[in-house]
């Protein structure tokens, strides 16, 4: 069968070339947003752009990056994980309680435990067909309750700091170890996705679950895995928080939920699933961190700070979201 020529090769190259530049630009948008914000903060307070200050911001962002990275997987699958923050708080309590017995193994144990808890949520979501929003909303209150009960509703001091000391070090004297670890999480998970069929399964699940299932993609397994990794990330973020606060507390990370989800969306990942990446969430988490710590430090009064925060995150998403990849904006 003869195939009519659709376009001349030259025209095709020209057209795809242009599309390529556009595509590349949209995927750099989160970074551009970050740079613009940093510039704006520096203008507002020239003292802000110092090495010390950036190092502190990087260190601060680490738990948020890890939380957002994990939850990004769930969002890519088309779901949402509202339990990350509560699970992270619970994990800080686990850490503080287990450290005296488990010693150096505590970090591993905590991450394994939260991964298992994440998996349980994933299984509940997949098997019982309960929307992830509800499963994890329920999880959120259940984890908080457990944390309150086992901690006797109070913070638990971590006296032995050796177990978390490594996280407080600086690589090359400037880059905080916690941030390096967060970067590693992003790199490793991204690589695993890229090198295996997982990425296309996750995207297919997020874009069109029924098509993915009928194509034989392991939708259920992929979803459970996403929740498991999300749980594990909550555990790792908890270790980072403990290393910074020297204690575990049943409410320690609770307020990180909305910033983490905001980080994902600000990065340009579609909240409806399918489109996005962990890199975007990394950039998003840095933007959110700068907003959280930067605005008050450069002296924006608290009421205006909230108004600015609201306006800027909306503007950031307007900039970063690649609309050609998202069918409808809901």
């Amino acid at each position: 069968m003869s195939t009519p020529v659709i376009t001349t090769p030259a025209a095709e190259a020209a057209v795809t070339g242009r599309a390529g530049v556009g595509r590349r630009l949209t995927s750099f948008m989160p970074v551009i947003a970050l740079v613009v914000l940093l510039a704006a903060l520096t203008v507002a307070d020239p003292g802000f752009l110092t090495l010390n200050s950036l190092t502190a911001a990087a260190r601060t962002s680490a738990p948020l990056v890890v939380l957002a990275a994990g939850a990004t997987l769930v969002v890519l699958c088309g779901g949402i994980d509202l339990s990350i923050a509560a699970l992270c708080s619970l994990a800080t309590v686990f850490f503080a309680l287990w450290l005296p017995d488990a010693g150096g193994l505590t970090t591993v144990a905590v991450i394994a435990a939260t991964a298992a808890i994440g998996a349980v949520q994933g299984v509940a979501h997949v098997l019982l067909r309960i929307p992830s929003f509800i499963v994890t909303l329920g999880g959120m209150s259940i984890f908080s309750a457990i944390a309150l009960v086992i901690s006797d509703a109070g913070p638990i001091r971590v006296v032995d700091r050796d177990a978390t000391h490594w996280l407080t070090l600086y690589v090359g004297g400037v880059v905080p170890m916690a941030f390096v670890v967060a970067l590693l999480v992003v790199v490793v998970v991204s690589l695993v996705l890229r090198l295996t069929p997982l990425e296309s399964w996750i995207r297919a699940t997020g874009y069109s679950e029924s098509a993915a299932r009928l194509a034989g993609a392991p939708v259920d397994v992929v979803k459970i895995a996403a929740f498991t990794v999300s749980g594990a990330c909550a555990g790792l973020a908890a270790v980072m928080l403990v290393s910074r606060n020297f204690s575990g507390s049943p409410t320690m990370a609770d307020n990180l939920l909305l910033p983490a989800v905001a980080a994902i969306v600000v990065g340009g990942t579609a909240i409806t699933g399918g489109h996005g990446s962990l890199w975007r969430s990394l950039a998003g988490a840095l933007v959110v961190t700068l907003l959280r710590v930067g605005l008050p430090i450069v002296g924006v009064p608290s009421a205006y700070e909230q108004i600015l925060y609201g306006a800027i995150i909306v503007a950031a998403v307007a900039l970063t979201l690649d609309r050609s990849k998202v069918l409808t904006i809901k």
Binding site: G78, A145, I146, A303
Partner: protein
């Protein structure tokens, strides 16, 4: 009513029955009144959020909008901070402020093409900022008779606020059933692109739905102010998630296109009965949240079991 809609009401009856059996205090008439009164604010918030969810969008702006309207109304009616005494007009202005903020999130959604998750989160922050500005460090206390009376005076055993909530449900139901706005909101959740193919411009309806939701939150903020006798920036704290949970527990889908006001009303009752019942049967305050979460998950699970399909999509 089809089988798939029957789950939440059945769950409500079961939960109610269990508490009634366990606690004599729960099954008194006055406690039932108390449950209904306690449900009033959440009902109004949920009325607003239901339309947004029906479109398949999400709305997290309730805390900010409620905070702004709570402070606004407290400063507009007779209060201890200024000489205003606008009475009902003040209430109207506060509701309009809510509608205006809601309109902003709708506009950001349709013009900037930013997902509602983010626009409403942003507007919530803006609302809290506006509220904090108006608050200016001194608690505005309400001395307006009318506004205070709404929470205190009763008709047929229920506070006036509760009747306002009933009225909101009725209005919401009429809008959902008989107005183009309501039907189109429903249709947008079902198949937005089809509306465009039919020559319908969906953007104005989306903005209108967010505006209407904002008005409901504004009213809810006023109601909280009436209950507390003072304008609080945190008047709406936590209402975003509880309203969504209530709507979803009632059978509204987060992907849109299903559910409605009556579903949500059942959901609100379910959540409120749970809160009240757990206190009544003396569950430790530490455990209450957890038990509540567990029951919500169980209720939704029970509700979806009869409609489970092999290839069903659950987001």
């Amino acid at each position: 009513m089809s089988l798939r809609d029957a789950g939440p009401p059945v769950a409500l009856v079961v939960v109610f029955g269990v508490f009634a059996a366990l606690s004599p205090g729960f099954r008194t008439l006055s406690n039932v009144q108390n449950v209904l009164d306690a449900a009033a604010v959440l009902t109004v918030v949920t009325c607003g959020i239901t339309f947004v969810l029906m479109m398949g969008s999400i709305d997290l702006s309730a805390p900010g909008i409620m905070g702004a309207s709570a402070i606004a109304v407290a400063l507009l009616v007779a209060n201890n901070r200024n000489d205003n005494d606008f009475g009902l007009l003040g209430v109207v202005v506060a509701v309009l402020l809510g509608a205006g903020l809601g309109c902003l999130s709708g506009l950001a959604l349709v013009t900037l093409k930013v997902p509602s998750f983010m626009t409403t989160l942003g507007i919530s922050a803006v609302g809290l900022g506006v509220a904090t500005l108006m608050f200016a460090g001194v608690q505005p206390n309400v001395s307006d008779r009318m506004l205070e009376g709404l929470a205190v005076e009763r008709f047929l055993g229920l506070a006036h606020l509760t009747w306002i909530a009933f009225a909101c449900v009725l209005v919401g139901w009429l809008v959902q059933r008989y107005s183009r706005l309501g039907r189109y909101a429903f249709a947008i959740g079902g198949a937005e692109e089809v509306l465009a193919l039919s020559g319908v411009r969906v953007a104005p309806y989306k903005v209108a739905v967010f505006t209407m939701a904002g008005a409901f939150y504004g009213l809810a903020g006023v109601m909280v102010t009436s209950q507390l006798g003072a304008g609080l920036v945190q008047a709406g704290k936590g209402y975003d998630f509880s309203a969504i949970a209530a709507a979803v527990v009632g059978g509204t889908l987060l992907i849109g296109g299903r559910g409605g006001i009556l579903h949500s009303a059942v959901g609100v009752l379910l959540v409120t009965v749970l809160t009240n019942g757990l206190v009544q049967i003396g569950v430790s305050p530490y455990w209450q949240g957890g038990v509540q979460g567990l029951i919500v998950v169980a209720a939704v699970a029970a509700a979806v079991i009869p409609q489970r399909r092999r290839n069903q999509v659950t987001k």
